[in-house]
């Protein structure tokens, strides 16, 4: 009896997180652009084991994306210049949401526009769509000419987009920041001031590779976004800085491939994390990370993700 009581006083690790008004089963979310619209890897990864999924960036109209080659492997990293190929808002709602709606996991829609107006239009159309739990505003895509990075590098523009989106939607708004800036805390504070419910970071770092044999850039787009383990130290530093600069929750992204990596981000101050490139390498990564976090918390007697944070 006393033995039983003793056991029961120790609660099971609570990996769930409430963040920006969204309930996540656990703090592990699939990153935009690395899990399609979910259905594409449903057979290889049980999405219901995860906290959530951020779908591929959606634009107003369908986009063809950049010409190939679009990807290139670098040391412990991946360069991509997909150029936001996506089905567009309309087909997303009619073709992708019906399936996503049935899955018991948080669904976040990543959006990208060519202008503030386009962001607003997409956000407005997503409002009150059943099954959508939140919007992630991509002001940080390095691979499309208009929009994207231009907004992410300018605190005033970033704030304006955030503010306007907040007025047209009741959904929680997560703003996704670009790492290609001098001081990320400036942008973070700007979007916090404009009403963002949470911040996610980082998007990819702008990079390139050259094809020595053919004497030209490898990617048709010349530049691409660098992701993967190579960028983890930079992402972690930015999460640490932003978590200390704002009050709203921070979602950590960048090179996370193991539960150890994820825990580093929680310690840096992230309330949740996203798994990107790791899913491309091993579709089961995110589920393995969920299990690893739970067993770490269990072993260390941690009952809530937020307890891991280094003050």
């Amino acid at each position: 009896m006393p033995y039983f009581e003793q056991k029961s006083t120790r609660p099971l690790p609570r990996t769930g997180v409430d963040l920006a008004g969204i309930k996540f089963k656990n703090p592990v979310i699939l990153a935009s652009g690395t899990c399609g619209y979910g259905q594409e890897i449903d057979d290889l990864l049980d999405l219901e084991l995860l906290g959530g999924i951020v779908v591929k960036g959606i634009s107003l109209g369908e986009r063809r994306g950049n010409p190939p080659p679009r990807i290139h492997e670098t040391p412990c990293g991946l360069l991509n210049a997909i150029g936001l190929e996506n089905v567009g808002l309309e087909r997303f709602l009619s073709e992708k949401m019906p399936w996503l709606r049935k899955i018991d996991t948080a669904v976040i829609v990543n959006i990208l526009g060519n202008s503030a107006e386009e962001y607003v239009q997409i956000a407005r159309s997503l409002d009150r769509v059943p099954g959508i739990d939140g919007i992630e505003v991509n002001i940080s895509c390095p691979n499309v000419k208009a929009g994207g990075i231009a907004f992410g590098a300018d605190p005033a523009l970033a704030a304006e987009i955030t503010r306007r989106i907040k007025t047209v939607t009741s959904l929680p708004v997560i703003v996704k920041l670009s790492p290609n800036v001098t001081d990320i805390t400036v942008i973070a504070r700007a979007v916090e001031g404009a009403g963002a419910d949470a911040i996610s970071l980082i998007n990819t770092l702008l990079g390139m590779a050259i094809d020595v044999k053919n004497k030209r850039p490898v990617l048709a787009n010349i530049f691409g976004g660098l992701s993967g383990p190579a960028i983890k130290p930079i992402a972690l530093r930015m999460v640490w800085q932003v978590a200390r600069a704002v009050e709203i929750p921070v979602i950590g992204i960048g090179g996370i491939s193991t539960s150890q990596d994820a825990i580093e981000f929680f310690m840096a101050g992230a309330s949740a994390i996203q798994v990107g490139t790791a899913t491309l390498v091993n579709p089961g990564s995110a589920a393995e990370i969920v299990a690893g976090i739970a067993s770490f918390m269990d072993k260390e007697g941690i009952s809530d993700i937020s307890q891991m944070r280094i003050p």
Partner: protein, 264 residues
Amino acid sequence: MSRYSATCHIIDQVRLAQDIFHLVVDAPDIARVARPGQFCMLATAHGGGLDPLLRRPLSIHDAWPSGRLEFLYRVVGKGTDLLSQKGPGETVCVLGPLGRGFRPEPCGKSILVGGGLGAAPLLFLARSLDRMDVTVILGGRSIHEIARLDAFEGAAGEVLVTTEDGSRGIKGLVTTALERLDISSSSHTDAIPCVFACGPWPMMKAVYAWATAKGIAIQVSLETQMACGTGVCLGCAIRPSTQGRYLHTCKDGPVFFGTEIDWG
């Protein structure tokens, strides 16, 4: 879809030539559902190393109900080099079967054309067809580039070898053999033959031109850079013959009808 991520025991790995390896692993789930022309993504880094980061795509060379899954590959860089260093007793992580394979159609003779390691996916295809209707043409610079000839001879009614240096078979390119082919003869039908090709781009272009001129349907297995192989990254785009959406090698292919793609 039924795809599997498996840590597979290596049953055997044999060097067939200077830089050509034949890898056999035990992968019951994958082997059971695999179709000719599909491929797998293989992890190549040793231990916990993160470089190379991405898995490498390799066509399924053969698959058996016993769970035996075979690959035939050439060492060209870091990833394939690391893979080639593994042996029986060790394991390799395999993701598959992936993509859309060959689509056998009612036709006369099936002409399978492989250039160099493009031969890899053709053995499994040959074995899935009626042996007597299959003609395999294997081309290479020299006899050293023609791998697994015995296996092909066991699986096909006719096997023609072409070498650029004449060290074996017909001296010339695979198209030299195609030109000489009597495409009307077939064991049981006068139907038009169909062609399945895999190899370097210039070879496939030439074979496509030959087939098109003859009014023969052709399916080709293509290679592009891949990150995921599962259809989520959209990195493996390939220009379609139309002005529309890009095709994606890992899910719309790797096997395409010749008419689907932009030959440039």
